[in-house]
Symmetry: C3
Subunit: 264 residues, 3 copies
């Protein structure tokens, strides 16, 4: 286990706040100084908080949100540049895959209260969320084409399914920004909340779901997932294979683009 998420012990670092009340677990990304970017410690903390929500009989619903002005800017690009340069050690990239494993199999209702910027994983993660509420200031972007990397988190499957092929293609192939209205119109999110209300509204909806028989809401979610799970697993496998091939080829390794991205 020592090398599971890199040489450090990622769980010893503060990355998230977890609040449990009335059957709802709120998981708040809390690294606002870097717009809640996901480093190894963040992956480990969110993975553990979600896995715990599944194991804990008292938790019926989980809610994701971000502290500060952003939802999350996604993968920490400093860490990705290290991985791209081969300096990540044997556990490199495992944090992301561990998080996805628990998200893809999360068979309790999963909500998100999104505000501000959602970049990369801050966007693609929403393809796995059952009910996404967005503050009117939300702006989402998948910078894969710009960074020269393949899509992640089964987004090559889930964004077309959830947003329609056209808007997914605009997001994935053209790296276009998506605002709150477009997130709802395309089907990625449920509704827009007026400024400052998104966490409250999401918690109200979570509370409503948590008021129902937990065996029923879990069964409903499990059945909804069951219809899509094999395709999601296959999409992840294709994407990870493409990612590995890209990094293995010096002509396509995105190290330099990433470094350039960091400097902008």
């Amino acid at each position: 286990m020592a090398d599971k998420w890199s040489a450090r012990d990622p769980l010893s670092v503060h990355r998230i706040d977890v609040e449990d009340a009335a059957g709802v677990r709120l998981i708040a990304f809390d690294r606002p100084e870097v717009r809640n970017a996901f480093d190894a410690a963040m992956y480990a903390a969110v993975t553990e908080a979600l896995a715990g929500a599944l194991e804990d009989g008292a938790t019926r619903v989980a809610v994701l949100t971000g502290r500060g002005p952003a939802f999350t800017s996604g993968q920490d690009l400093n860490e990705m540049a290290i991985i791209a340069s081969g300096g990540g050690g044997p556990g490199a990239g495992r944090g992301f895959r561990d998080l996805l494993d628990v998200v893809v199999g999360f068979d309790k209702p999963l909500l998100a209260a999104v505000h501000g910027v959602g970049m990369g994983l801050g966007f693609t993660l929403l393809g796995h969320v059952d009910l996404v509420l967005v503050d009117e200031d939300t702006r989402l972007r998948a910078p894969f084409a710009e960074l020269g990397v393949p899509p992640e988190a089964a987004s090559s499957l889930l964004l077309p399914e959830r947003m329609g092929w056209q808007r997914a293609a605009a997001a994935l192939l053209a790296s276009e920004w998506i605002d709150a209205e477009e997130a709802v119109r395309s089907g990625l999110a449920l509704r827009v909340c007026s400024a400052g209300t998104v966490v409250t509204e999401t918690m109200e909806l979570a509370g409503r779901i948590a008021s129902f028989a937990p065996h029923a809401t879990r069964e409903i979610k499990r059945l909804m997932l069951a219809a899509r799970r094999p395709d999601v697993i296959a999409a992840r496998a294709r994407e990870e294979s493409a990612f590995a091939a890209l990094f293995a080829d010096p002509g396509t390794n995105p190290g330099s683009q990433l470094t350039a991205g960091l400097e902008r």
Copy 2:
């Protein structure tokens, strides 16, 4: 066959009106005193009317509607409480499955003129309808989470497909009401009709389809179905298995919630 839909002979009871004209069969749920709830006799009558529409070469298109103020309130909860308490006999639940069998394989165009309340099956049935027109007073609800039961009629697959994951999750996990505008915006229905016009407008659309070569419209419907049928069958099997497990476990049998629901 005596026990096919319970000990009674369900077809001897009036439950529906059937009108055939110009290639269109109109099937109107006609039990307005209980908002067109589906008991064994209603399941049997609608199943027979749809099966007959498939067999009859003169019928090119079928249309479902409800008499009185509601489309249908779905499963008769009195009968479901009897089934939940083990008093339904060997044919319990078979009426529902027989109806679904014919609906899932219905390879002629199937339309619905919906007005007022559609609850439970009155909502999930629409996931199998090709063209749903809704009166502006339409209100749909899937009370599965509230009643503590799994989704039915392949709705765990079809509502996400037709409405998008977000709106399907709001319907299935939060038992939220859906109005006419939302039914159209989400993709569940084709268009909203002004008060009192939905049957006329649906019959006009049915008549237009019935004016085309029947081998072509049937082939088009058959090809559209073929792409989805295996997934629909698999979803029904998962849901029925979940339903059976729920009823077999005293801790989750919804008998008491159903009785409480009846008293509200």
Copy 3:
């Protein structure tokens, strides 16, 4: 190869304009006197232009458009009537299938600048296009039900996926016209462009995509396609089988409807 697309040499006839610049290949249907209808020569020309775009390392993105007032009126009905009457020779219908083969496997971003009428293939082809921009005068129609023929180009799968079941059923079963706003609202197209700007706007979007690393945009498209390809191939096979059965049966061969259609 002599009979590949009929006895003539179709590539010797002018059917399209091809312009390559800055990584973008523009393929413009240029047969405005018959609203850019697809005859054997048009199929061959577009197939070759797309296949060439895949092979050419300098081409990163392809854009389809039509010269004159129409996008394309689809299959040339004069030629289809000849095929229906058995006069098409051994290569009849092969042009369509060859075009579809390259479109279904087109793993670079594919855009369309649509204006005016898109009929038949001019509509169903859009189910394979990643980013469809439509002039406000766009009008699309799938006349299969009216002509008495099955759907084509995997549209029995792709139109429900891209437009939702309800709007696809209205298009396929009722041969309803779809205007520019409806194309966007349903998810078939990305956005409406004001009169006369659709080619410019589409080329700008294509240019943006072409500015990214081509291995990444191709990989993104390849991964998006991979999730859908097996279903698309299966849908085409079902449709082609239905088409063959229809033509083989004198009772359903659409020759007379096609001839009548030509006279309207």
